[in-house]
């Protein structure tokens, strides 16, 4: 029996503001427990929240990048529940008037075509603290440094149809967000967290199946795996003649399974009501427009422009757009040097490879656009071989020196001197009489082998084009004295 999978995602995004959402504490990770706290984020009696304008700015940026409508006026609400990591026994959140609603994100769908995923809403709220369970001492420790970190919860409509689409949604969302510089988007660090609502139904069925909510996935891959597991589980439940139970399930990474956490009956009644400590927030149209103007060019638009302006392939443009700063680096190079395709090949090829090995980005490295363009020019001028240029790049990255200096120091200047090259070519013919004989019998493709031998002899420094010419010429002339 065939089922259709239906998925909606809820992404919690920690916003990278300097201070927390409702107090002046530094919004920082990795500090000693409870050192980034104050009466407000600790929820001490008598303390009051004050809304951080920067959090609003980041929310607006994100909303606009996701094509959302911005609510001209919104409120905060209290979501009440008891848990030791929640200092006030309520989370300040947004219930029925989110800051952003009705947006969309275009992803590569399962069929390969672009697919529009509708965003239901994005709302602001505060993060809770963290509990550390100390089994040795049989107690729990609470760290409230994270309490009050601004969160934007981005909720999709149930538009995703496979775990792969869910993965693509997360990938494109993260890419888009990285352009806005509003969040670290690091699932392992918890700055991006994702819950998945999963259900299955018979294809063509208008009604949604009973969903389960999956939590506790700490990577995009885990989201994909959890959904796959859950779809199979639900399928087995239905095929076994039973009904899927609406519940929250936790993903266990080690066991690669989901486990029931609580059923619908056990679900909290959050008793939402308007937060009386915070006035309504109005977002004037001018502010929204101003924010729209400051939005950077987003990945999709950048890719399209790159293919049109620079004549590079959609694939290449896509690779460049994976990182906003690399894309910017590419454009800086392209302004210095006309052959964008060559720049792109270097950036997406050797440069990317070297960066990955060093686990840094182009922007974080010492490499300047001028350096890369210099190197390409040196190859073009024949001052260094394509092969040696790769080594030059490595040394450039490690030492920060410019390429001319490296070529000179290493003695890697390409040999273009005819006399020297002629010697090398003749030597290659002399060393490989059998190959020469084959060529003379008509197997012209073996010339390549001779060129390779000559290049090796030169330590890669010979100009391969000239070497080939000279070998061909000498074969004709019969350098060994015999007619060709």
């Amino acid at each position: 029996m065939i089922f259709e999978t239906v998925i909606g995602l809820e992404v919690h995004l920690q916003l990278r503001t300097n201070t927390k959402i409702f107090c002046g504490c530094a919004n920082q990770f990795g500090e000693s427990p409870n050192t980034r706290t104050c009466p407000v984020c600790l929820g001490l009696p008598g303390s009051l929240p004050v809304f951080n304008a920067k959090a609003l700015e980041y929310a607006l940026k994100t909303g606009l990048a996701l094509n959302c409508e911005i609510n001209p006026q919104f409120k905060f609400d209290r979501k009440n529940y008891f848990y030791p990591d929640l200092t006030k026994a309520y989370q300040i959140s947004q219930f029925d008037q989110p800051v952003c609603r009705q947006g969309e994100l275009i992803i590569p769908g399962d069929g390969g075509a672009a697919k529009k995923i509708r965003i239901n809403r994005a709302h602001l709220e505060e993060d809770a603290g963290k509990l550390i369970h100390d089994d040795a001492r049989n107690c729990s420790l609470a760290d409230y440094n994270r309490a009050g970190t601004p969160l934007l919860e981005i909720v999709t409509e149930p538009d995703l149809r496979s775990s792969q689409e869910a993965y693509e949604y997360l990938r494109i969302l993260k890419l888009t967000l990285s352009y806005l510089d509003v969040s670290d988007c690091d699932m392992e660090k918890g700055s991006l967290r994702c819950d998945a609502n999963v259900s299955i139904r018979a294809p063509g069925d208008a009604k949604l199946g009973t969903k389960t909510e999956l939590k506790n996935m700490n990577s995009f891959k885990a989201v994909k795996a959890a959904i796959d597991y859950e779809v199979n589980r639900q399928r087995a439940v239905i095929l076994g003649g039973q009904r899927v139970v609406q519940e929250t399930r936790l993903w266990d990474e080690n066991k690669a399974m989901t486990f029931s956490m609580r059923s619908k009956e056990e679900a909290h009644d959050y008793r939402y009501f308007p937060e009386p400590d915070l006035p309504l927030v109005t977002v004037p149209e001018e502010v929204v427009e101003e924010m729209r103007q400051t939005l950077p060019e987003l990945p999709q638009a950048k890719m399209e422009r790159f293919t049109q302006t620079y004549g590079i392939s959609v694939y290449d443009a896509g690779v460049l757009a994976q990182d906003r700063l690399t894309a910017g680096f590419f454009e800086q190079c392209a302004a210095l040097y006309p052959e964008a395709k060559k720049i792109c090949n270097w950036l997406n090829g050797d440069v990317l490879k070297e960066m990955n090995e060093r686990k840094i980005t182009v922007a974080a490295s010492t490499l300047q656009p001028e350096d890369l363009v210099d190197l390409i020019r040196k190859i073009e001028e024949g001052a260094v071989s394509q092969l040696k240029a790769k080594d030059v790049l490595k040394i450039m990255l490690d030492s920060g020196k410019n390429c001319s200096a490296i070529i000179a120091e290493q003695g890697w200047g390409q040999v273009s001197n005819d006399e020297e090259l002629l010697k090398i070519a003749q030597q290659a013919l002399a060393d490989n009489p059998a190959t020469v004989a084959q060529i003379r019998e008509g197997k012209l493709s073996a010339i390549g082998f001779l060129v390779g031998q000559a290049m090796q002899k030169s330590g890669g420094k010979a100009n391969p084009k000239k070497i080939k010419e000279l070998i061909e010429k000498n074969l004709q002339a019969g350098a060994d004295g015999k007619p060709f």
């Binding site: 929820g43 009696p45 026994a89 008793r271 939402y272 009386p276």
Partner: protein
Amino acid sequence: MNLHTLTAHALQELLLNRQVSPADIYRAVRGQIDLVEKKVGAFARLAPAPDFNGLADKPFPIPVALKDNLCISGQETTCASKILTGFRPPYDATVVRRLKEAGALIIGQANMDEFAFGSSTESSCYGPTKNPWDLTRVPGGSSGGAAAAVAAHETIWALGSDTGGSIRQPAAFCGIVGLKPTYGRVSRYGLIAFASSLDQIGPMTKDVTDAARLLKIIAGHDPLDATSVDLPVPDYTQSLRCEVKGMRVGIPREYFIAGLDPEVAEAVTAAIAVLKKQGAQIVDISLPHTPYAVATYYIVATAEASSNLGRYDGVRYGRRVRPPEIRQTPIIDMFEETRDQGFGEEAKRRIMLGTYALSAGYYDAYYLKGLKVRTLIKRDFDQAFQTVDAIVTPTAPTTAFKIGEKTADPLSMYLSDIYTISANLSGIPAISLPCGFSQAGLPIGLQIMAKPFAEETLFRVAFAYEQATGWHKRVCQI
């Protein structure tokens, strides 16, 4: 000279003329406390002796009592609840900071109903405060300790908080002046919340002049309270002129109904006549949604309170009770045990009421409806203030009742705030000042209300009345 019986403004003059020192005043007040506190029980706890150095340039180096829900850095502050036992705030409430900057000498933290839930100061974990005018009677509440302390001259002035009448009703019961400022006039930062959309801190003083001066010290915008309003604070002493001629004073007919003690009605009627005699124009008005005020209040206020009191869970501060056995999970059992033992009866009642009003399936019928009626009540006042400058009513329907008289009947207790609740629901300022005494010698309070941020109007009318009558000069014998 009995310094403790004087007003702050009288003492300020003596201080300016170097006739007394802050230490003299402090000693006089402490002497009175030694004399009467055992009988009155106005304080939750007394403050350590202040530092008298560096007070020379301070405008008000005068003893002040603070209701036990105002955070004082390093001093235990409990809202008269067992659940906050041992809680020492690491910070000063904004009003406390402003008082300290003015040189105030904190004399002690005044008793109150637990978490300000009550109208009699009987629900305090420290036991009831007695009315200095009759020690068998309640001082009103919830700021009953502060009112009794002022009336018994155990402080020169005090700060209380008012969510539904908690400054004005005890002021009326104890024969002093109590002011609830406009919502947003005074920062709530550091006031341990009861109902956030209704709470305001205000002065409790021996006369109207002191109320004007104390309000000036504590009022003004505070970046730490997003609901505090950024409006300049006028010099309220400019309003202390006996000029009510031509002012239009509204008398809402819905306030003179069954349940109003005839002696109170008589005193208030006489007070209205005094204002009329001074040239005020008395206008009969209607505030038609008044009958719904108490019900609306007990939905909105308890809903907010149920949420505000969630944080007392034993995890971070205050009392924690280890469950004797594990029934559900260790943490849930600890929450339940802590809250069961930490909260008193009235606190539990209100938490349950508020939780119910916000629950799925009941929200629309209770909380949302409450908000709508609240809007209608506010509209009543908006309309009334289009034709009148001030509204005059009784503060409470009766004089101080007997200790224990209403504790078994919460509804009759709730009705004690019937005239004061509307000002909180609509956010307007209101003052209570003495307007006479019953035959039993119990004080009666007159309430004056004005439109938002028109505290100056309150002071003008109140001052004119006070100067014409002099009820505030009567001193109780303990």
